[in-house]
């Protein structure tokens, strides 16, 4: 069953140069309990999609979608206030560069406390009564301790009394994850959770996310620019280039039968130990650079850089779906 179903999401941003369509008919279908990787280079609009799902957009954005369902609720029909209530309870987000998202002037303990479920009067009363009757009820401190143990922080007391700048980037990210899972959300969106981290810390964070998915059955949407890392962990993948979803399918479909030239280029970026490339030889890249958002080509946006482009590519290709494997290309071919 689809947990998050987005069909033809478009985002237009009004700028001084006119309106720019940054996301062009993106579709995303996330199956309950799976890990979904949304892969694209920086500036391709991954974070914009995440923000549109959360409803965190600015006033100059126009978000339109044919369908935007979280489970059975229609996200596009909710008011801003109802959206805010979903945030944190149903969907929570892990940001990139955790140090910049944690408040530098507050201790970790205060920040974690603020995301825990608000205690109602009844809970307080029950706790006081529990003390009288000598029944053990969970205090906030114990709750926080358990949360930190879940994400693999052992020395919880010393970490809790630190400020974010005293902790390493990896630890900060673990705290962000702890804050994200505090309310047991159904969907966690991880926006480039491991950029500018060392490979050892990276694998720790990925293992943690994988464990969350396996133990709690939490659905994960991982946004990343590193195809090699993310493809390893994800069950389903969607590739995005300059705001257009180019290909989407399960891990096996993408790896073994990629149809879109962009996906094929991304697969070539996986370096392996058995060296196919000669030492110090030139590595494979697509020609040209990523266009800036105010100079996007019409039609298929990969067009000018695509090795298979022809004249028809100036018309946006329609989506082709074969057994849940969808791609947008006029000339799809399987790589031999």
């Amino acid at each position: 069953m689809a947990l998050l179903d987005i069909r033809n999401l478009s985002i237009d941003i009004e700028t001084a140069q006119g309106t720019i369509r940054v996301i062009d008919k993106a579709s995303l279908n996330i199956i309950d309990g799976s890990i979904h990787g949304l892969i694209g280079e920086s500036g391709s609009g991954k974070s914009l999609i995440a923000k549109a799902i959360l409803g965190l957009h600015n006033h100059n954005w126009t978000v339109t979608a044919d369908r935007m369902f979280l489970g059975k609720t229609d996200l596009s029909k909710l008011s801003q206030k109802e959206r805010r209530q979903i945030l944190g309870k149903e969907i929570s987000m892990i940001f990139q560069k955790p140090r910049s998202y944690l408040d530098p002037s507050q201790k970790i303990i205060t920040q974690i406390k603020s995301v825990l479920p608000q205690k109602t009067f009844r809970v307080h009363l029950r706790r006081i009564l529990g003390k009288v009757r000598r029944v053990n009820t969970q205090s906030t401190r114990v709750q926080i301790k358990e949360l930190l143990h879940k994400v693999g922080i052992q020395n919880d007391t010393s970490v809790l009394n630190c400020y974010p700048h005293q902790l390493s980037e990896g630890l900060c990210q673990k705290i962000m994850i702890a804050m994200a899972i505090a309310n047991n959300p159904r969907l966690i969106i991880a926006d480039e959770p491991t950029t500018s981290m060392e490979s050892v810390t990276q694998s720790q964070i990925f293992r943690l996310l994988y464990k969350l998915n396996q133990l709690n059955n939490t659905t994960l949407l991982i946004l990343s620019n590193n195809f090699a890392n993310t493809s390893n962990i994800s069950d389903y993948m969607t590739l995005i280039y300059c705001g257009q979803t180019v290909e989407s399918g399960s891990y096996k479909q993408i790896i073994s039968s990629a149809m879109h030239p962009y996906t094929q280029a991304m697969i070539k970026t996986i370096l392996t130990d058995n060296q196919i490339n000669e030492h110090k030889g030139q590595l494979y890249t697509l020609p040209g650079n990523i266009p800036s958002s105010n100079q996007l080509p019409i039609g298929c946006r990969l067009g000018p850089r695509c090795p298979r482009a022809q004249r028809t590519c100036v018309i946006n290709p329609s989506i082709t779906i074969q057994k849940n494997h969808s791609f947008r290309c006029h000339f799809p071919t399987k790589l031999s």
Binding site: S42, S196, S199, Q202, S203, D273, K280, Q282, I290
Partner: protein, 259 residues
């Protein structure tokens, strides 16, 4: 034949104050010896806190060594003026968006090292700037631009151009690839390799990604807690690492999640 760069017994200690009159010495890296030949690439790998950055910063002259000597083409670095030093060793910093001055144009950024370190006249300086831009695949139109008008890839190209403009013998790159996207990373790698082929510069670079290290470098040096634990040709170290730490680093840290 003299090696291009010879480091002998280089040490660096940081002094931290522990009381009003007392201080403590903390070792950043221990006695380090290595040589680097022309057109060779040395990769320095290690965990965080193993003293990689301190080492390359000391070689570039940003930090003062506590003891030991650096010889460039047989001359000790203490006998060279800072201008001569700049002409032979240049550094590319980690993040070009913060290392390029946002208030000056690309032309001024590239002109400054020439003005300060050489006695070329304005025409030949201009020519040098054009040649260097051509080498890093940038159009001369970008000279009037400010760094914030460029994309991250172009900023990296400008940073590389700034390092190259004095035709140095050694370029030090401190984790320049870590923050880039994968395809841009490949482009920068290709560019660096192309420049090495044309100009014959030597690189010292600090990196995490062992695949790329293996692809780019001729020699590898593994640091652990400030000391060299393993050093040698890339092939030998990647094929049969001797130390536990090297083996740990070489594991590409991508556990297989598939059953």
């Amino acid at each position: 034949m003299q090696p291009l760069l010879n480091i002998s017994n280089l040490c660096k200690n940081f002094k931290t104050a522990t009381g009003l009159f007392t201080s403590r010495q903390k070792k950043a890296f221990g006695p380090i010896n290595f040589t680097l030949e022309k057109s060779q690439t040395l990769a320095i790998v290690g965990e965080s806190g193993s003293g990689k950055s301190a080492l390359v910063r000391t070689i570039a002259g940003l930090l003062k060594a506590s003891s030991g000597d650096i010889y460039i083409k047989g001359q000790p670095i203490s006998s060279l003026s800072s201008q001569q030093r700049c002409l032979s060793v240049r550094m590319i910093f980690q993040d070009p968006s913060t290392s390029l001055n946002p208030k000056t144009t690309i032309e001024k950024i590239l002109n400054a090292p020439l003005e300060l370190n050489t006695d070329l006249d304005p025409e030949s300086r201009q020519q040098q700037i054009f040649d260097t831009l051509k080498l890093v695949d940038l159009l001369p139109d970008y000279l009037t631009f400010y760094p914030n008008m460029l994309s991250s890839m172009q900023k990296h190209q400008v940073a590389i151009a700034r390092a190259l403009i004095l035709n140095p013998d050694i370029i030090i790159a401190d984790e320049i690839l870590a923050t880039l996207d994968i395809s841009l990373r490949f482009k920068i790698v290709n560019l660096l390799l192309k420049i090495q082929k044309i100009k014959g510069v030597s690189y010292i670079f600090v990196a995490h990604n062992m695949h790329l290290v293996r692809h780019m470098s001729d020699h590898i040096m593994v640091l652990h807690q400030g000391e060299i634990i393993e050093q040698g040709l890339t092939e030998t170290i990647c094929e049969n690492p001797q130390q536990e730490h090297t083996k740990y680093l070489l594991l590409n840290h991508q556990p297989d999640y598939r059953k």
